[in-house]
């Protein structure tokens, strides 16, 4: 019964966030003289078309992977702000490596993913080593590493990994990955490809769930996050834990760009989306660091992105949805904090009542 009430309280977090976000966006729309009802109605109508569903899922997959990468760090109080840099450098090098080799199809895909994971983990390990060996806080080092990655990607792409210019072509991109390193669409919905990396992302989500909630390692990781001192006393080496978590988070971050790479771009170009690492932080927060929650949050963000495309055609600036997303993030973190305190005080109260009952029982027995 108590447990049930706590769950209901937790459910309040996303619900209140969405209600608040809709309210604030409506106010913003009203303030520029647009009708929120019309805007939301057309978003809903456009967003439920079959091709929009495919687009929503395609947009959600990288966000989901990014959310997983961030959440693993969050679970042990490690703030991997560097997911952004990790996936960008991993995508670039994986694309270049994938174009440089010829392998049978499944092996080629596996090879590209392996390169991406190794590069992502290696880039993340810099922050891990700095924290473990030199006590540099990971937030600071990963912020610096993000900017360094941006510069490094630009340098490598322009000077070393760029496809030799053919004729008058000015495209700045790595060479094309051969078909054995591409993934065809899973199916088509309303003419829009549904990219097949979705299946791998689902496998990844399940794997992360099992690893974090069903293994010894995951238990240690979560324990280190909740109470580092208790974890240390129970025999968990905090430094090893930091390194492992950072490597794991970086390896997953390396996979963020794979859906777009395998299913659409087949090369690293300047059009490969950036900023997904930061969006991943938002997705992990809104999804409360659980794979199921992250999946839902990623789908919501993907849907909002897609559905908003119709707004421009109606003369409403679609940028309003960036504000919507921002409000969602802030209301989730604030509501989460409030509910956490409520639950905590509830637990303290329950424990106090329980203790009193036991003491009274003891007294009755003694009498």
């Amino acid at each position: 019964m108590k447990r049930w009430r706590t769950r209901l309280l937790w459910l309040l977090v996303p619900v209140s966030a969405i209600v608040l976000a809709v309210a604030v966006s409506s106010l913003v729309l009203l303030s520029i003289g647009e009708s929120p009802v019309d805007a939301f109605r057309s978003m809903f109508r456009y967003g439920t078309q079959a091709n929009s569903v495919a687009s929503m899922i395609n947009r959600a997959v990288p966000l989901f992977v990014a959310g997983l990468a961030v959440a693993i760090g969050f679970k042990m109080n490690l703030f991997n702000i560097g997911v952004e840099g990790q996936y960008r450098i991993a995508t670039l090098l994986a694309a270049a490596a994938g174009a440089a080799v010829t392998l049978p199809a499944p092996l080629h895909i596996a090879f590209i993913m392996l390169v991406a994971m190794v590069v992502g983990a290696a880039w993340a390990s810099i922050a891990g080593v700095l924290k473990v060996k030199r006590g540099v806080h990971e937030v600071v080092s990963t912020i610096m590493l993000n900017s360094i990655a941006t510069g490094l990607v630009a340098y490598l792409l322009a000077n070393h990994l760029r496809k030799p210019a053919a004729g008058s072509e000015l495209l700045i991109a790595t060479p094309q990955i051969p078909p054995s390193g591409q993934l065809g669409p899973l199916t088509q919905l309303g003419g829009e490809d549904l990219r097949s990396f979705l299946l791998l992302a689902i496998v990844l989500g399940v794997a992360v769930y099992v690893l974090i909630w069903r293994t010894r390692f995951g238990y240690d990781l979560r324990a280190s996050g909740i109470n580092p001192d208790a974890a240390r006393v129970s025999g968990v080496d905090p430094n090893k834990m930091i390194m492992r978590t950072m490597l794991l988070s970086g390896a997953i971050a390396g996979l963020i760009g794979m859906s777009d790479l395998f299913g659409f771009f087949h090369a690293y170009t300047l059009d490969v989306p950036t900023g997904i690492g930061f969006d991943g932080i938002a997705v992990a927060l809104v999804g409360l660091n659980h794979p199921v929650g992250i999946a839902i949050a990623a789908l919501v963000f993907g849907w909002v992105d897609r559905a908003a495309q119709i707004l421009d055609l109606q003369g409403v600036p679609k940028e309003v949805i960036i504000i919507t997303k921002g409000v969602i993030i802030f209301s989730v973190v604030i509501a989460y904090e409030i509910v956490r305190r409520l639950v905590l005080s509830q637990e303290v109260k329950t424990a106090a009542e329980e203790t009193r009952r036991l003491e009274e029982e003891k007294e009755t027995v003694a009498a």
Binding site: M144, N159, P317, E319, V320, I323, K325
Partner: protein, 431 residues
């Protein structure tokens, strides 16, 4: 370093500094060495831009927004609130600065820019101080939100009015500029005064010309905002370290529980610190608008909020340190803007500095650090000898790499406010 987790066993006393501190004499000595080194390399490599007054002027101009963000971060973190939302607050400063400047003129633009940054800071303060949201999380969210708000407002306000979704119309007026008379050739009540330092600079004498160029660079065509920003360095020191309010603000970052027990209103102190940080970041944004093209452009801040954060850490959470770090970052930026040979010559400067550092370490019997510095120095020499120019991207990443190295090498000597980044709840025990 804390920022999220903290050892609750022992806390050092307020103001206790660990490690050897850099006092004023040492800093001046170091500065002297750097100036002589730069003059020498300028002499050898014939890269005049290494020490020209134009470079120094540009360095100062580029350092100002970084310094403002760093000072902003300093106010916030001294009261115990980590602020990685500086970048977002600066973005709001650029937008509101440009909008205000376009609507009402430059002065109003600056004021509105400050207000815009402060608005972003208010969100950060409400979330982190009043609601106890994790400070890193809130900072990240502010950066995302600010970029979105700026884009949205641009679409609403600028499209069809001479701007667009990513750009504003021109600001309608400019801010006054100052050139010091006699020394740098400014006019004085209509009288064109001589340019003494400029004449000295043109003689290309070793050291004399270089030093003159440096001073001249700091005196020609200064924006009024630059002067204000430079004044903010001593003002910040006096305010935080020599006034009662400043002491209370710092106590909120060093040990909020002790401060609370002594009757300090910790929440209020934190609010003040965070709001000032937003105001300064907003001013930095407005400065970028007024000093560059007179317009807002998306991505104009270019990560300067993060560089400001780096400068604050680099400067050991002190105003003078922030000034030195911002100056260094501004200087490398300026060289990058002005000429390729000068950037190339900078590698030689780094090589000599590293070899010198290595020799000093070996003399002090610190063999590991010494040999690492020596090897790096020799590698830099080889790099300098074998190349003609340096990719621009490398200059872009210099501040970040420098900060990482400083943190890795000197993190024991840096001392952040003890409870920086820790959520404080009124009436609760140390958690």
């Amino acid at each position: 370093m804390s920022w999220g987790e903290v050892d609750t066993g022992l806390t050092p006393a307020v103001g206790a500094e660990t490690g050897r501190r850099l006092d004023a004499r040492r800093v001046l000595l170091l500065l002297g060495f750097v100036i002589v080194l730069l003059s020498g390399v300028r002499w050898i490599t014939a890269a005049p831009d290494l020490t020209s007054s134009g470079t120094y002027g540009a360095a100062l101009r580029l350092a100002v927004p970084i310094l403002l963000a760093a000072l902003g971060g300093l106010y916030s973190e001294r009261t115990g609130v980590a602020n990685i939302g500086l970048e977002g607050m600066m973005i709001l400063g650029t937008w509101f600065g440009a909008w205000g400047g376009w609507q009402f003129g430059a002065t109003w633009g600056v004021l509105l820019g400050i207000l815009g940054g402060t608005a972003g800071a208010l969100v950060h303060a409400v979330a982190t101080v009043s609601f106890g949201v994790n400070q890193i999380v809130s900072g990240v969210a502010i950066n995302l939100l600010a970029a979105g708000v700026a884009r949205f407002l641009s679409v609403v306000a600028f499209t069809g009015a001479g701007g667009g979704a990513t750009q504003s119309p021109q600001v309608t007026s400019t801010l006054p500029r100052i050139t010091v008379p006699v020394l740098a050739g400014g006019s004085f009540f209509g009288w064109e005064s001589p340019d003494v330092l400029g004449w000295l600079e043109r003689q290309h004498w070793f050291l004399v010309s270089d030093v003159s160029a440096m001073f001249r660079g700091f005196m020609v065509s200064l924006s009024i905002l630059t002067v204000i920003t430079l004044l903010l360095v001593p003002v910040t020191y006096l305010f935080l370290w020599r006034t009662r309010l400043g002491l209370r603000m710092r106590s909120a970052g060093e040990n909020p529980w002790a401060a609370e027990s002594l009757g300090v209103r910790v929440y209020t102190m934190k609010y003040i610190g965070v709001l000032i940080s937003g105001a300064l970041s907003g001013l930095a944004g407005a400065f970028l608008v007024m000093e560059t093209a007179g317009i807002y452009r998306e991505g104009q801040t270019g990560g300067r909020g993060f560089i400001g954060l780096a400068a604050m850490i680099f400067g050991n959470w002190r105003p003078t340190g922030a000034l030195a770090a911002s100056g260094l970052f501004g200087y490398t930026d300026a060289l990058n803007l002005r000429s390729d040979p000068a950037v190339h010559a900078l590698v030689l400067v780094a090589a000599i500095a590293l070899v010198g550092l290595g020799a000093w370490y070996l003399y002090r019997r610190r063999f590991i650090g010494g040999s690492v510095a020596l090897v790096l120095g020799v590698l830099a020499f080889v790099w300098f000898a074998l190349t003609d120019s340096i990719p621009r991207q490398f200059v872009f990443i210099t501040p970040y790499v420098a900060t990482l190295i400083v943190l890795a090498v000197a993190s024991q000597r840096l001392r952040m406010p003890t409870y920086d980044g820790i959520t404080f709840r009124k009436g609760e025990q140390i958690s």
